[in-house]
Every structure is written in C-alpha cells, then in structure tokens.
Amino acid sequence: MEQLSGWFTELLSGNLIFTANTLSFYWDGLVTTVQLVFLCLLLGLVLAVPLAIGRGSKRRWIKLPIYAYTYVFRGTPLLIQLYLVYYGVVFFDGIQDSIFWVVFKQAFFPALIAFTLNTAAYTTEIFHGAIKNTAKGEIEAARAYGMSRKLMMRRIILPSAFRRALPAYGNEVIFMLHASAVASVVTIMDLTGAAYYVYARFYAPFQAFIFVALIYLCLTFSIMFVFRKLEKRLLAHLRPLGG
C-alpha cells in the first residue's frame, strides 16, 4: 500500500491540476453520480411497470393521465424539470417548517425526484411498446389455457415484454447516466460538478473535462457490457442456431 501511494505521489508530482485533492473531488463525484443514477433508475423501474400496464388499459381514466404524464416529462428538458423541482418547491408557503423540508433542503433529493420522474416516463413508454408488441399467438394460447388476465400478464406478457424491451432499456440507462450531468447546476458535486470545480479553480477546461469524459466513457462501457451479457442470456431464443 505504501509502495502504491509512493508511486501515486510520484505520478502526480509536478502536476498542478491533478493533485490528490482534486482526484478526491473526482472520486466523490463518481460515487455521487453512481448513487444518483442507480437510485433513480431503480425507482423509475419500479414506477414504470404498473404505469406501463396502466398505459395499455382500456379504461380512459387510467390510460389518459398516464399518457399525459409521459407526454409532459418526455416533452420537456430534464434541466427544466430539475430547476422546477429544486427552486419551485420553495414557493410552497411554509415548506421550510414542514417535515418535507428535511428532504427538499438538500439538493440530492430534488434531483433524485426529477430524475426518477423523467426516467420513469421514458421507461413506461419503452415497456408499453413492448407489451403492445406481444405476439397474438402467445395471448391466444394463454386464453385457450383458460388463464385469467392477471395470470396471463404475469406469466406470459410481462416476461416476454421485458425481454423485448431490454435493448431499448439499456439505452435509457446510458442516457440517464449522461443526463445526470445536469445535477451539478443545483450544487450537487457529481462527476460533472467536480469537473466544473477543477475547471473554475484552475482555468483548465480541457484537462478537467477530458478527464471526466474518460470516466463517463468507462461507466458507459461497463453498463454496455452488463446489458450485452443480459441480452445474450435472455434473448438467446432470437439468435440463429449455432450463432
């Protein structure tokens, strides 16, 4: 360990920008970004499944509000949504004295809420499309077996829809990682926030941003790797034999 830190100090010596101090900023930023993106994707996924089923419902009072929600959140920039949640909540009189203030006082939770609502809207549409595209034969076969609508949804439609949605959802995960860069405008020290800090402190935009771009690239590659593995397993039946 001592050897490692000695090697590290030597590597960094004579370098004015990437000191141990700024690298720790980047590391904290990486942790924050991963936390934020992972949590919002998880919450978004949990929200999106029932919403996607509801979106395909025949009842207008279920279908229309969900459609309106996805339309609004897919139709406006994430940055605007973040501003509205972060600065907008302050306009509710007395929020500072309510229990919600514990959540809204920090920048993390308003950002998490905005990101979750945004990714849930996109994921809802992805899943809805996949559900709609379920092969008619599968549904007819399920009916012929006498399955109820619920059982059919659970055993037949959703499992096959999730598989079909996987490539599109992988894209959404990567988009969300990149979209999370806007979190820095509300003081969150995510990866981009750390890069902004180093940039503003040393007036070295190229070094600060090229470094953070490389970190984002590494994250993207690992996400792509996971989804490639998943697709290989779950979509095995779609590949040609021996392929």
Binding site: Y87, V90, Q96, W101, K105, Q106, A107, V185, T187, M189, G193, Y196, Y197, Y199, A200, R201, F202, Y203, P205
Partner: protein, 275 residues
C-alpha cells in the same frame, strides 16, 4: 473602357499605398480598436439600462481609461466561468470585469495595476446566532458560494473541514437559496451582497457576521485589475498609466461616489506609477 481600367488601377494603387502607410504608422500603436470582455450584470459595476445599453461603474471607468489611453474601446459580454478562456481565445483583448488578481490567474493572464478592491462578508439570517470564529460550532452548517471565486477558495481552505460548502454557478442562485432557507450562511462579495441581500439596516431580515474579510492577500489578492494576454505588455502599460491618472486627478473618486456609499479605492503607489 480603357479609362475605367486606368482609374480602377489608380484607385487600387492609392488604396494599396494607403494601407502600407497605415501599417507603418500603426507599428508602434497596434491596439487602436480594443474589445473589453465583461460579465453582465454585476450591479452597480455593470448593468443594462431600459434601452439595453450597458452602464455602470466599470463601464464609465473603462470608457474613461480608454479615452485617456487614446483607444477606441467596445464591450463584449462573456459569462464569468469562461472569461479567461475567452481572452486567450482572442474573443476580446482585455478583461475589465472586477477580476481579482490571484497567483492562479497570473499563470494564465497579465494584470494591470489594481483599480479597486472590495471586502467579502459573511451573511446569515438576522435571528440566527452563529459565531464564525468558533469553528466547532459551525459543524454541519451549509454555506453558499459562487463556484471558482476567491470566496470559494477562502471558504474551501479555511472552513472546508467544518462547513458543508454548496457551489453555485451564479451569485443569484446563492441568494435564492439563502432566501429559501437551504443555506445557513453565505460568504459573498460586499457589492453583490449590498445589492442583492438586505442586510445593512437594523431591521433587515439578514445581518453581517463578524468583520469584513480582506486577508490573507494570498487568497484575496491585491484587488481587481484588468487582465491581458501575457504578450500584450504595451497595452497593459497604457492602461496602467491611465489608472494612475484617474486616481491622481480625482476622477476615480468622483466616479466612485456616483455609484457607491463605501470606499473601494486602492490608490496605486508612486513607485508603481513612476514606471
């Protein structure tokens, strides 16, 4: 037809000689037209009037300095965090935008003599009881600063281990969050605070904590100065001379009184002006 060609040649020849004689005349005086970069707004240093024209202390001062240096100046707007890269990329020839002299910035640009310096102040809500000198009592409190400013550096260096530092892209955002209650403290430039936060009267909702801060000079520097590209030494010298002049004949004080009810002058020493 021939006549046309002849006259065109004559005119062309005249123009060419004109250009070459101008080039000779300009050799010692390359910077006739100068573009000054500035971050707008920063009241009362720079703002827009009802017609959208730039006005303010730095606009008046800059125009006065340019007149004395016999330069034809125009203003270019540039947001703060890109203002030095913009200078280096030749979007303008000098920065006149309340830029404090710091060692980090001196690596990138060359500064004129400082023309003013302002203190920074701690501000909190009037009903809060905070002792800024007692570091242990500050644990967990949040402070808002504008990212990359000398206040950011000071707070990070002196209070980084106790205060929760929130860095914002603009000072308006800092004030917004102080007013919303997200921030316990803000450490702000006196003029910005004076303009944006009501804290100087006895019954105002905010108050100043402790004394105004001007030291250490290693962080707060000698004051605000114009910034130039490193190689434009002649241009910087012209503005240094103009700054000495406006201080010597009282023009600076007159301009200052027009905009401020506190003193922000930094009189250049005779030694600096003798150069």
């Amino acid at each position: 037809m021939n006549k046309w060609i002849t006259s065109a040649l004559i005119v062309g020849g005249l123009l060419a000689s004109q250009v070459s004689s101008q080039a000779v005349a300009q050799d010692g005086d390359k910077h006739d037209a100068i573009r000054l970069g500035i971050d707008v707004p920063y009241e009362p240093f720079v703002m827009r009037d009802a017609d959208g024209q730039l006005e303010g202390f730095e606009i008046d001062l800059g125009n006065e300095l340019c007149a004395r240096a016999n330069l034809d100046c125009s203003w270019v707007e540039q947001s703060w965090d890109g203002i030095i890269p913009g200078l280096l990329a030749r979007k303008y020839d000098a920065i006149l935008s309340s830029m404090a002299i710091t060692p980090e910035r001196e690596r990138q640009v060359m500064f004129s003599l400082p023309y003013y310096n302002t203190p920074s102040v701690w501000i909190t809500a009037r009903d809060r009881d905070i002792d800024i000198d007692d570091k242990d009592s500050l644990k967990g409190l949040s402070v808002g600063v504008q990212r990359g400013t000398i206040r950011d550096v000071y707070v990070t260096q002196e209070y980084g281990d106790v205060l929760d530092i929130h860095r914002y892209g603009s000072s308006q955002d800092v004030v917004n969050d102080l007013k919303s209650g997200r921030l316990d403290l803000t450490f702000e430039d006196f003029p910005i605070a004076n303009d944006a936060i009501d804290f100087r009267k006895d019954d105002s909702p905010y108050k100043q904590l402790g004394d105004s801060i001007k030291t250490p000079t290693s962080i707060f520097g000698k004051g605000a100065a114009m910034a130039f590209r490193q190689r434009d030494k002649d241009l910087a010298a012209k503005f240094d001379k103009a700054i000495c002049e406006v201080y010597a004949d009282g023009t600076f004080d007159k301009l200052m009184e027009q905009y401020f009810d506190y003193d922000l002058s930094v009189r250049p020493s005779e030694k600096d002006c003798a150069k």
